[in-house]
Chain length 333, copies 2
Amino acid sequence: MTIYLDAMGGDNAPVQIIEGAVAAVAEYGINVTLIGDEAVINNVFENRGLSRSGIDIINATEKVEMTEEPVAAVRKKKDSPMVRGALLVKGSHEDAFISAGSTGAVLAAATLYCGRIKGVSRPALGTLVNIKKPVMVLDNGANADCRPEYLDQFARMGAAYIKAAAGVEDPKVGLLNIGTEDIKGNALIKEAFGLLRDDPKVNFVGNVEASGVFDSDADVVVCDGFSGNILVKAVEGTAKLTFGIVKDVLMGGALNKLAALIIKKDLYEKKDLLDPRAYGGAPLLGTNATVIKAHGNSDATAIKNAIRQADKLVRAGMLSALEEAIKQQEENR
Amino acid sequence: MTIYLDAMGGDNAPVQIIEGAVAAVAEYGINVTLIGDEAVINNVFENRGLSRSGIDIINATEKVEMTEEPVAAVRKKKDSPMVRGALLVKGSHEDAFISAGSTGAVLAAATLYCGRIKGVSRPALGTLVNIKKPVMVLDNGANADCRPEYLDQFARMGAAYIKAAAGVEDPKVGLLNIGTEDIKGNALIKEAFGLLRDDPKVNFVGNVEASGVFDSDADVVVCDGFSGNILVKAVEGTAKLTFGIVKDVLMGGALNKLAALIIKKDLYEKKDLLDPRAYGGAPLLGTNATVIKAHGNSDATAIKNAIRQADKLVRAGMLSALEEAIKQQEENR
C-alpha cells in the first residue's frame, strides 16, 4: 500500500504537510509518498531536521493555486501533485491519495483522472463527524445542484463508507430536511424522500433536522452539496464561536483564570469533538480511487489523522464496497 | 397600539404564554390582548394568582394543532387565535400579532388573512441573531423553494427591517453561499448574486459562508428558506451541544465542580448569546401586518421578549418601511 500525499496543497503547506507525514510514519508505521517540488521538500527536511525514513518523494513541478478555476487548472497542470496523485491511484484498491489543496481542484482532478465508479452519476464529498457516534454527512459541496437520484446514490455510498470506516452494520440513512414530517422540504428533497423510502438497499430512517444531526439515529445524513456545506460550516463556525465565548469567560478575571486552570485539560480534549480536522478529512466517494480531501487549514496533526484514515479505508476495502453498493443499485432497476 | 398574543400556541401554552404577557405588562408597560379559550385563560390567571392589569382577552374557541396541514387548518378554523389575530392586525400600522404555534400555520394565516404588501412575491420569515452585532437571516423556512428574484426582495425587506429594528443605516446585505468567491453556488444562488449586485437599492457585500455569518460585515444574510433553516437550526443545535459538552466537563469531578461554581454566572449570561429565544422570535416580512412567530418552545421570558420586539417594530414603523422598500423596487423596474 502507498499513501500519496500532496505536499504543496493547503494553507500550511509544505511544512505542516511534511511534518504530518513524518508523524504518521513514526506513530503508525504507515509509508507515505510525498508529491511536490522536490527541492522545496528536501529543504523542509533539512531545515527541520526531519527523518526521511519511510518517506518517498515524487517530484512535481507545477502547482494548482487556490484562485485558479479548478477544471481548467487540473486540465492544464499535468505535472501538479493533484494530477500526478490522481493518476497514481486511479483504479487502485491498494493505494490512496490525500490533498489539502483547493476542494474544487481535488474534485476535478479525481473525477477527470481517476474516472467514476461504474454507475455513479456524481461523486460526492463526505464529512465524518464523531460527536456521539460517527455520522457521515454527504454531499458536502461537490455538487451544488443535485437531482433526487443523486441523493439515493449518496445514501448507498455513504452507507458503504461508514460500514468500511467504522464497522457499522446496515447503517441507518437520514435525509437532511427542514422538519421531521414526511411532507417537509423543497422540491428536490421531497422527491429524494420517495426514492430513499423505496430503495430496498437503503435503511432509510426519514428526515433529520440540522439541529438534530448529531443526536439522530442516522449513521449517514444525505443532502445536496449546497445544504451539506451550509450545515457542516455552520457546525464548525458555531463550535468555534461557542468555545471562544467560553474562553473569554475563562479569561475574565483572576478567579475565572483559576477555574480555567482546573478545567483546561478536560475542555481541550472535548474541543476536538467538534473540530472537523480531528477526523482526518473528507473522503471523496464515487471516483474510481480512494481520495481524501484534507481541510485547507490542516496542521500536521490533521494530516497525520488523514493518513491514518486513508490507511484504514484501503485496508477495509472501501473502494470495493462502493463498487458493490452501486452495482446492486443498477441491478435493482 | 395593541399587541395581540396567541395564548394557545406553542409547547408551553397557555401557562408560559400568559406569564410572558403578564411580565411584559409589569416590566415594559406594554398592553397585551390574549386570544384563546377564555375559560382556560381565566383558569391560569386564577390558579397562578396573576395580575390582569393591562391585559385583555378575546375568546377564540378553536385551535390549530401542530399536526394539521397548515393551509387547510387556517382556512377551516376561523375562530382560532391565529385566524382571529391575523384578521385583527390586517393592514394595521399600529398593532402586532405574536404566535408560538405551528410555523406553517402562522405563515398561512398571515398570508391568507392579512394579504401581502403590494409588490411582494413571497413573505419571508426572518431570524435575528445578535452575537457580535444584530444579523438578520432570511428566509428561514417560509419558502423552501425560491426563485432568484425572491432573494432580492428578501434583501430589501431584511434591510428595511434591520434599519427599523436596530437603527442600522444603509444595512449591508450578504448572500449565504458555499464559498466567498463570486462564481460559487448552485444555480439559484448564482442568479441571485447577479440580481443583488445589480440592485441599486441593495448595499450588497457579496457571499457569506455559513461558518462566517456572525463574523461577516453583513447586517442581513439572504438565502432560500431551505438553506436558511439548515443554517439557523445548525447554529442552534451546535451551540446547545457545545454548551452541553462544557457542562459535562464542569460536572466531571470535585475540582471541576469548583471551577463550575466560579464561572457559572458569567457563562450563563453568555449562553443566551446563542439562544434564538433571547431575540423575541422571528418576524414575518412581506405580509400586510406586523406578525411575529415566537419559537415553539418559548417560555415566559421568550414571550416577554417577543412582545417587547413587537412593540419596538410598531413604534419604528416597520410596516411602512417594508412598503417603501418594495415600492422603490417596483419603480426601478
